[in-house]
């Protein structure tokens, strides 16, 4: 396996490192609002940044039903992700802690060991 992890968890700041990458990323965050036509969801990242998550066009169902979700998707640009699938994380999640974990996985000291 190459050094690049499979679908790493990211926050808003790190999206730019994965623009156009062929493998998806995991984006854990809080659902803020849906667009009027349900084409995208506005979400808050674990580091506070705002990101747009593009949803598959209807009638395809999206699973963004909970307050906190983990979106697996490809990065379109520094503030947009295209949703492939999503995981329900419930109604309570400490994003600060999630952010600490994300930063740790990119920490050079641990990067090689975790993935």
């Amino acid at each position: 396996m190459s050094n690049e992890p499979v679908s790493p968890r990211v926050n808003a700041a790190r999206l730019k490192d994965f623009i156009g990458a062929s493998h998806p990323v995991r984006f854990t965050g809080k659902v803020l609002s849906f667009s009027n036509d349900e084409t995208y969801v506005l979400m808050e990242a674990s580091d506070g940044g705002k990101v747009k998550v593009l949803l598959p066009p209807p009638p395809q169902p999206h699973d963004v039903t909970a307050t906190f979700v983990e979106v697996v998707g490809t990065v379109v640009d520094a503030s947009t992700i295209k949703l492939l699938t999503c995981i329900d994380m419930g109604s309570k999640l400490d994003l600060a802690m999630v952010n600490q974990v994300i930063e740790l996985t990119f920490d050079p000291e641990f990067k090689g060991r975790i993935f």
């Binding site: 400490d94 802690m97 600490q100 974990v101 740790l104 000291e109």
Partner: protein, 605 residues
Amino acid sequence: MSDLTLSEGICQRLNSGDSDDESLWGSKPTLQFLSIKKVVPGSNPGTANNANATTDRYRIIISDGLHFLQAMLATQLNYLVEDDRIGKNTIALIESMSCQNILDKRLVILLGLRVLQRDAQKVGNPAPLAIPPPQAKTVDASAPIAVEPVSSLAAPQPQSRPTGNRANPVYPIAALTPYQNNWRIKARVVQKSDIRHYSNQRGEGRFFSVTLMDDSGEIKGTAWNAVVDDLFEKLQENRVYFFSKARVNLAKKKFSTVSNDYELSLDRGTEIEECNDADVPVIRYNFVNLSGLPELQKEAVCDVIAIVKEIGDVAEITTRNNKTAQKRDIIVVDNTEFSVRLTLWGKQAEQFSTPLDSVIACKGVRVGDFNGVSLSLLSSGSLVVSPDIPEAHALKGWYMDGGAQTPFKSHSQAGLSSAPGGAVNRNEMRTINDVKDAQLGMSDKVDYFSTRATVMHIKTDNIVYPACPTPQCNKKVTETHDGWRCEKCDRSYEKPEYRYIVQMAVADSTGQIWLSGFNDVGLALFGITGNELRSLQEGDEAKANHTIQKAICTMYNFTCRAAQQTFNDQNRVRYGIQKMQPLDYLAESNAVLALIPLLRSRQAQ
């Protein structure tokens, strides 16, 4: 700079003046502290019997600019030194002091002072005072003392004061120390013990003790052997007396729960006078709500006020020493909507005649962890029925107003006893490998540890046992021709209560061990009672297994107890579960995250 003038000449007067001179000892001189030294307890007279002294004393050299003199700081003022409010060269106004004569030296005791200036220049060039002999005027080395009855009333002996001179001020109990003999306290006997007998290598004897209380605090007083006969009838509970000339010793904390570093020995010379003033000290309580009991450490002593909800019968039980003791359990409740069991012993148990629904205030109640939380009234404690204090009225009011109907929460549910070290102590978390490496429990000592692990396997046969349905009994019952018999309760039951006895293997990333637990562990794992699981096992085995399987792969924080057990000459360590808690993932994550910087800093070294 120093605008303050010291009371010149006072040191001379303090040193050689009358111990009795009210105008001298009641004066409020301004003095400078030339030095303050901590005195190690145990090196002073009066502490000979107990090397286990706890309070520091501070010796201060006081100066009035002309002379300096030794003084001791009363322990209640120790904080002034510890908070650095007084120090070298501090100038202070002495608001209250007393004197003590030790051997032939005079010691001034500073009972109250006001700091005028914390730091100052040393005033004057004070010289030491000559030690005055106790009888300043009449000692003549050559003349035999018997011949001259000439005025020795100039300076009376410190110990044998004429009884007429009883103008001694009343001291607060908190100010009593072994360094002071001329004190008098006015205190209420809040508790009197029975006469007890003892025998040790030196012989045998008897004693009884009283707990004395005034507005400043409490102290225990004990009378021995011959003195018992005189004092036992004289001292009545709840009466107020003046006490003086008892010996102040260091308290033997093992035998007393009274909060005072000292205790009194009431002996032949002790003077006790009844006091009929209106102004008498009232019992001071420091109540804890029943809901707050779990927060107290086991063995902690506190006071409670509550309503009697249920009264058990007096039971006679045999103690470890084969002595019989009377005990009675009562259930009490309070307005925090909790109920708890309170155990009474001895005479208090036998004579308990308080009606249901009355308020009782108990002082000196020890917190135990029998089946959750329990209370036990100490022999040095007291129980007052319907006391005339605001808390009692408030409680009664709440109870009459419908409080009686509230469903009370009990602390004794799934009550796992808290091991010493309390609940999961994060700092003491160990990995399983660590537990094995450290050989916990392998010595004769019992070890306690905490670990976070996942349930890997649960033994399904013998997961429950038939137990005696009597609450608290839990002994295994055997099936006989007429039911299930419990040896401890000495009776048979139609149906037993099935309780869990769980053996399971748990593992973490370092290793795996077997833990055993009882009913509470089973309840936490499976969510159904032992009876229910057993009926499933007999009826719908698939569902029973499914229930058990569901518990696998769940992670908990365990508090465990490791101890050696002998099985037919084989020594094995067995790990028992004291407490089992499901994980609060956020808390656990944060704890682990906190460890990472520690890891980094260690790696950096």
